[in-house]
Symmetry: C2
Subunit: 279 residues, 2 copies
């Protein structure tokens, strides 16, 4: 009998499920934690979502997501800050300390990545005190460089850690998502650094498939279906001292079109085979 | 009148042209250098290609390409080494000192990037003396991480420089291709390092387009059509002391389907606008 006590279902993996269905699916599959996306929470309201999840004894591993901090105009900036403050409050109500941030790409028509990264740093700095006040950690997620232009100008774990460095580890953490970082030649040393700094806020497992999907966001695959070396990366994360939840977050049309309960069973068996022995 | 004295046409940009047509196109457009691919050279034979190019006074900026060094089986390894030795000899005959290497991705079924990178280092080490003997520099090209699994497990300029470090700058260089490296948060410092080390063997300009093409290799775009900040990166390359050829290498179906002479005129005007003032 495998130990699924650290396994968490990110609700994006079963995209067609409502939050109620995802909660029921986890209970049925014996998955003890859930990483909800804000749209699924918003559908029933944050308070109700929090009760729904806690009533059945599930943990919230993290909330997805805030971010998109790079708007170049004042109105866009204020809208982003307001949305991120809302996300912090939602995380607090849901009882998770970890709020993922996908930091955003270039502004419309912009090509200056250096300037856009400065805006990310400035707005993170503005957001940190509010998050700390509410007991929520902002989790910087490096995204694969193929998404740098339009989704996240944080592309490596080292860069995320540099950005987090001015803040306490309890205020700003980082996520290790295998899909996004598997290729990084500095991965082992940066995972070790993240562990030393106490900043690993989430470990997400998901494979990197080829060919890249026509919607590039959907290139994520079930563990074992792509190119990621899960035993090695999982060992590095374990050696870095991470003992938290391990979330499965997959955007993949074929998986979305499958029966959700079947997806959870596949996810459990792949986790048991490729991740758990090294975690 | 713009100064096109450093501009080079990589033959992949006008994929449908034979080498003769590419040479004639460059002469007509006043482009003084050419970066041929080996398939176009092979069609007419290396000696004949060399004469064709030198007879009209064109320079060969670099030869594309050797590499694919990661085969895990002895036969695959020996085939790769033989092919790379051939590429060195072809570069020598063509009169260019710069041979691009696209180092290769994971072997069939392999997931161990660390082991595959060790094979790259081992085979590079084996190839260097042969290249030096023939006056050819091996040029390590970092490729965008979206190609790490299947084409090149060198994903950053810093990684390429680490791999080059044991060898003289005249033996192993690096390429800066804007498409592949624009997103790298360490780009400025690694370009400066490459310059200090005397290792910048080629500067290739090409834009990064979105959405990613259905064949991901074809996401390269004409300068100005995508997200790359050419003035900034060109300035970094110039500040690093690079004064060599600037090659335009674009894989893009729409450009391939256009009239080659028109492509060269567009290339010249975009180069004059976005690259030359900072070069």
């Amino acid at each position: 009998m495998s130990d699924f006590s650290r396994l968490s279902l990110n609700t994006a993996t079963t995209k067609k499920w409502t939050l109620e269905q995802a909660v029921a699916g986890c209970v049925k599959a014996g998955i003890p934690a859930l990483g909800p996306w804000r749209d699924r929470v918003a559908e029933i309201g944050t308070e109700r979502a929090a009760k729904l999840i806690s009533n059945v004894g599930l943990r919230v591993s993290a909330l997805c997501r805030g971010g998109f901090l790079t708007a170049a105009d004042p109105a866009g900036r204020e809208a982003a800050m307001a949305d991120n403050r809302s996300a912090v409050l939602e995380a607090e109500i849901l009882g998770t300390a970890e709020l993922f941030l996908v930091v955003g790409g270039l502004a419309n028509g912009e090509k200056d990545v250096v300037a856009a990264r400065h805006r990310i740093a400035d707005r993170l700095d503005e957001l940190v005190p509010f998050a700390v006040e509410h007991g929520v950690r902002l989790v910087l997620e490096p995204l694969h460089p193929m998404y740098a232009a339009d989704r996240a100008l944080i592309s490596t774990l080292g860069q995320a850690l540099d950005l987090a460095a001015p803040y306490p580890a309890s205020a700003v953490g980082v996520a290790v998502d295998t899909f996004h970082v598997w290729w990084d030649p500095q991965l082992q040393e940066q995972i070790a650094r993240a562990g030393r700094d106490g900043r690993i806020a989430s470990y997400q497992v998901c494979d990197f498939n080829l060919p890249i999907a026509s919607d590039a966001l959907l290139s994520r695959g079930m563990m074992g279906d792509g190119f990621v070396d899960f035993p090695t990366i999982t060992r590095w994360v374990a050696e870095a001292g991470y003992t938290g939840d391990i979330e499965v977050e997959i955007f993949n049309q074929e998986i979305w079109d499958s029966n959700g309960n079947d997806v959870l069973e596949t996810m459990k068996s792949r986790y048991a085979e490729l991740v758990l022995p090294w975690a």
